[in-house]
Every structure is written in structure tokens, then in C-alpha cells.
């Protein structure tokens, strides 16, 4: 089997989310946005699909490395792409993620199996946590500590047994402020009681002392983990923090270097829990390697982000990452309705807080090809 064609189709949809100048998502007035579908076509007619914001720019680099390759040679393709990343380019980890997920999708569709079973399955469903958007200044949004408490109650009513707060970051007024972060964390604990698992992802550029303050307060509030309170480029800061705290530190998340960076963080005790998402490291293939690395050192490994690839990896992890991240969630937005290019939600959650392993072939996305065709951005 050979890869005969690679297509990127960019299409329009109406979004009710926007990004602030730091890249954090918030509710927004409905507006036109774009999404891209990557299609990897084989000469035997089987295709694999994945979705990303625009990856067109990288295709000039990607095509020569993929066309004519056997799509089942995922490891060779990934290593070739990875080596081509060295000089910096449009070939980001997110592009590698889109390609790797599309190749897994193609394999699963060719063999009529969901990806998590091809990987060698471990479980049928994964507990989810509700992951809030970052704090904002919207009335009825996430604008006060009490607003977080109120929203947390809604999430518990929906079935979540675990919740992660993203609190206020710049450019929100008054941010960053460790005391307000803790006030929100305390309001949530007060609202949901002792039995809901809680985590915090705050502003990412706190000092060591600010991060230590957060950690000590979260210990009193019985939080489960904190992630990325400081710049992850300073591994020494994370070693220092992890040594001080009983609270678990979870990371790295945005630090570059994928598998090898996670190896360094583990052997240097820079975090208690390792972290990986397909988008951070370039796909399901490297994500599984990081899971195996974590297993080698008896370290818990948690998934970052809501990608369908993460969900398959979670269902195939022998040392189980505990949670699928579901979100980002906000009182003004609806996570339970699929986006218009999908006919069904990739990660539906039952009333007990579990997301089932996707059962369709490949990644299991139920794609609305008509919608995409009808909304193409002309090239």
C-alpha cells in the first residue's frame, strides 16, 4: 500500500470561542472561523483523516516525505518528519500529530478496528475531568472565585467526578494573582465537597515562591495536582518545587523535546506525574513511547487535551493515565454538541463521568463530509 495523495481542505464554521492575546480560549460572539481536514489517501482507496487548525503551510515539507510511502510505516514516517523538524519550520508537533493521527485512522479504517485495539487495549472507558476555560471578566462567566464555585456545581450535576480549574492569566484584569487563584480553588472545594478530585492549572509564569504558595494552599484544600505554574524551560525550578511539595506536580506540558524531555524530567524528579498529549509531542506514536517511558520508572502519566488520539492512547495504557481531559468548559459554551463537521461527539460522557473507548474504525470520528464540502474555503 502506498500513500498516493495528501489533501488539506480548509472549511468555514461558526465559532462561539475566541482567543486572547496569550492564546487562551474564551467565549466570544458567534463569528466565522476555519478548520482544516487532513486526508491521507492510499492507492488502495482507503483514507485516513484528522482535524487541525490550518496546516496548509507545512504541506510543502510533508508531501515529499509521505507520497509513495507505505502508510503502515508509521515509525519510519514519524522519524523522517521528526528529523526534518530540526531547523524549525512550519513542521510543528501539531502538524506531526495531524499526520500521525491520520495514519492511525487510515490503518484502523483499512483493518476495520478502532485504534486503541490496534495498540493493544487495556480498558473500555476512561474517567473524565471537566477542564474549565481560563478566568475572564464576563458577568455570569468565570469572573470571580464564586463563579468558579457555581460552575463547578453544574459540572458535578453533569456527572463529573473531577474538575480542573484554569484560573486567570494575563491579559485579564488583575491577573496574575496567586491569592485570587486560591480563592477560586477554595470556592470550588467549598462548593463540591471533599469527594470530587480537583486540579489547578494557573498562570504559567509565576515565580518559585508564588508557585510554592499555590502548592501549600492547594495541599490544605486537598487538591490532586497542579500543572505548569512556572515557565517549563526552567527544569531546575520544577525540581525545586517538586521537592518542597507533597502536592503532585504534573508536567511537562508545553516544554519542547517530546520523549526526550520527558525522560529528563523523570530522571531529574522535575515532576511527580509525567504529562503527554498527542498535540504536544507529535501524535499517538510518540505519546505511547512516553507512556512506556513512564511505566519504566513507575511514574504516573496523564493525558493533556481532548484529542481523540489521546483517548485511544488512554484506553491502551497499561499504567493507566487516570483521566481524559474534557473541555475546555465555560458557562456560556456547549461542549455536548458536536462541531458541525462531526455527526457525533468524539468523547461523549455518561452520567457517571466516564468516556467510552471510541468504537468506530480508526479514530472513530463520524465525519460530516457534506458539511465540509459545502463550506470549503476556495483555495
Amino acid at each position: 500500500m502506498k500513500i498516493s495523495e495528501i489533501r488539506v481542505e480548509t472549511f468555514r464554521y461558526t465559532s462561539d470561542k475566541g482567543k486572547d492575546i496569550q492564546g487562551h480560549g474564551h467565549p466570544a460572539e458567534p463569528h466565522e472561523a476555519q478548520q482544516a481536514m487532513l486526508t491521507i489517501v492510499s492507492d488502495e482507496g482507503v483514507c485516513g483523516y484528522s482535524f487541525r487548525e490550518d496546516i496548509t503551510m507545512a504541506m510543502g515539507l510533508v508531501r515529499p516525505l509521505l507520497l509513495g510511502e507505505d502508510p503502515f510505516y508509521r515509525e519510519r514516517i514519524w522519524q523522517n518528519l521528526y528529523q526534518r523538524q530540526r531547523e524549525g519550520s512550519a513542521l510543528t508537533d501539531r502538524v506531526l500529530d495531524a499526520i500521525d493521527q491520520a495514519l492511525w485512522d487510515l490503518a484502523g479504517r483499512a483493518l476495520d478496528q478502532p485504534v486503541y485495539r490496534l495498540l493493544g487495549a487495556f480498558r473500555d472507558k476512561v474517567p473524565a475531568y471537566g477542564s474549565t476555560m481560563c478566568g475572564d471578566d464576563l458577568d455570569g462567566g468565570l469572573n470571580t472565585p464564586q463563579a468558579y464555585g457555581d460552575f463547578a456545581l453544574q459540572l458535578v450535576a453533569r456527572g463529573y467526578k473531577a474538575i480542573k480549574l484554569h484560573t486567570w492569566s494575563t491579559p485579564m484584569p488583575g491577573a496574575p494573582d496567586p491569592k485570587r487563584d486560591i480563592a477560586a480553588c477554595a470556592a470550588v472545594r467549598e462548593a463540591v465537597g471533599p469527594d470530587i478530585v480537583l486540579m489547578l492549572d494557573p498562570f504559567h509564569y509565576y515565580t518559585r515562591q508564588e508557585a510554592l504558595y499555590l502548592g501549600r494552599e492547594l495541599e490544605k484544600l486537598d487538591y490532586y495536582w497542579m500543572e505548569e505554574p512556572m515557565d517549563e524551560a526552567s527544569v531546575s525550578s520544577y525540581i525545586w518545587l517538586t521537592e518542597q511539595l507533597d502536592l503532585q506536580i504534573c508536567g511537562p506540558e508545553t516544554a519542547k523535546g517530546g520523549l526526550k524531555t520527558r525522560a529528563e524530567w523523570i530522571v531529574r524528579n522535575a515532576a511527580d506525574i509525567s504529562r503527554v498529549g498527542t498535540g504536544d509531542v507529535g501524535g499517538i506514536t510518540p505519546m505511547m513511547k512516553i507512556v512506556h517511558l513512564a511505566e519504566a520508572f513507575g511514574v504516573q502519566c496523564e493525558s493533556h487535551g481532548s484529542s481523540i488520539g489521546n483517548l485511544h492512547a488512554l484506553c491502551a495504557m497499561g499504567i493507566a493515565g487516570q483521566f481524559h481531559e474534557r473541555g475546555l468548559l465555560h458557562p456560556f459554551t456547549d461542549y455536548e454538541t458536536p462541531p458541525p463537521w462531526l455527526n457525533a461527539l468524539p468523547d461523549p460522557m455518561d452520567d457517571e463521568g466516564f468516556v467510552p473507548a471510541p468504537q468506530g474504525p480508526g479514530l472513530g470520528l463520524d465525519i460530516n463530509f457534506d458539511y465540509i464540502r459545502d463550506n470549503l474555503v476556495s483555495g
Copy 2:
């Protein structure tokens, strides 16, 4: 899909190999020996197969953990078996290997794909090295340094570009003897010239000083690696040796603890090259985890032994283990004829010294079911 039945069928064949009291293989007069075929049967009629010397004793432990399981839940099955190993029992790593390989075989047969493609392939063929039997006292065998030199020439004529010597161990007369080992290594280098890659696997219970002597002499002879010259239970001895030598130390091989032991060896710099075979760690599933661990630390990872599972793993390794081990070889025995329970050799080698990726479904073994049925040992 569910596992509905697990069969172990033990059958007779005529062997021309025997084992000495330390477990090392040598040529022997033809005699009756036994082999076992493990069959994992699914309720959809697809079966997976693997071969081992007798594993019947473990089946009482295995059956309750496998029957009724989905055979694609390889990770869950492996973790359950692994945890059951803790108290020591008939459930050895070799039993886990037989089960894991049979499950991969089943998946590949169900999906009509060779295992290395399910894993995400990296290459189509692997260079082999010829791996000799241990030294002996047989005229015309491997009884003198010159005999090794003569045999090495035969291996080069066959197409091998790399050769590994197993020299003399107890209970052979005069063994162990580091000087005689080096004389054999020198005779081989003298015979084959500078362009053949050479490795040594000597007696496994040398002292640190004896191992250092071997290493220094192998450096002069431009050997590529040495493996297991000392008891692998002493990790500190390997750290000490690896620090002294430029010659690469390859290991661990027989040390228990699988993935986690390899992690410790890597971070403690107890070897230059990590080592794994399916039989040492319990299957293809943990072997791939160790490959991923090695990649995380930029460490080369070499395969141990000739199992068909190793060959699939080698074809899927992104940081390529350099060689498939072919053997064990001896002037008196024939490696090029398949055993009677197979219709074709699992790892045929071309004249350039390459073994192709197996292309049949699953593990790709071409099993002679008639032979097995006709030679069953009655239960």
C-alpha cells in the same frame, strides 16, 4: 472477540542439539526432543500460535486470566499476567512471551497483516549477525581458537557481515579462561579481516578485572561490543566496567525486571547499549516498551535471540537495533533448514546478510500442522 480456548500441544521431533549442565547448547547425537505449540483460540474462529519448550505447567495459572478476555486487549492481559508473576511460579517471562506472541499472531491473522506493520513499520529487512554456539571439545567443532577462525570464514562465505562468538564456559575443559577467549577472538579477526563486525559473549561470571582484560584486548581487535562477561545482578560492576572501557558493553540480557531493570541500567550508565529479547522480558509488547525507553535516552537497543517476535520488533524500531541475531550456529549443525514443525525458515538470510521482514499474516510462521498432529505426545 473473546478467547474461548487455550491449547498446549506437545510434540516430538528429532533434535541434533543438546544442553550442557549450564544450559548452553551444543551439537548432540540425534535424539528425541519435545516442543510445544501454544494455540489461543477466539470465539470467532481465529487462532494465534507460538512455540516454546514445554509451557504446560503454567497453563493452570494462565487459563483463568485469559479465557473470556478479548484477545486484542494485549496490554490488559500482559499486565494481569505480570502482576501474577510476583510470587514466583511457573509463569515465567518465557511463558508470557509465548502468550504475547500468540496474541500478536492472532491479531495479525485476524487482520491479515504481519505484526511489524501493525506495530507501525520502520524497515523491510534487517542485517543479521551469525551467533556461534559456545565453545566445546569436539574435533572439528569449536574446540580451539583456530576452529573459531575457520568457522568464521564459513559464515562470511555464507553472507554474514557480522559475527558474535560465544566462547568457552564451564563445564568445558579449561573454561573459563580469558586468554583462550581472546585467542579465539584474535583468530576470528585474523581470519575475516577488518571489515566484518565482531562481538563477544563470554563466560558470564568473570571478575571485574577479568572482564576489563577482555575489554582492553577486544578494543585492540576492534570488536563492536561485549555482552554479559559478569553476573548481571551486580549492576555496580557493569557501571564500573562501562566507565573504564571505550568498547561498548551491551546489556542487560538475563537480569530479571524487564522494562524497569533496563531503565535503571540506562540511567546508571551500566551499559552502552541496552538489550532486549522477547523471551527475556515476556513478549513483543514489553520489548517495544524497552525500545521506546532506549529512544527516550538516545541509547542504542539491540535484540537478543532469534525469536520471530524479535524480528518483527526490529522491523518496527525507530531507533534501529542494528542486528538480528541468527543462530546459534556450529560447524556440525544446520540453521538453514526449518525445524520439522515449520514449512519455511522464519528468518531466511540473503547473500548480503539481510533477513527480510516476515510477510505472512501475524508472526508469519508457516506451520506444518500435519507434522504436529502426527507427532503429539499423548497427554
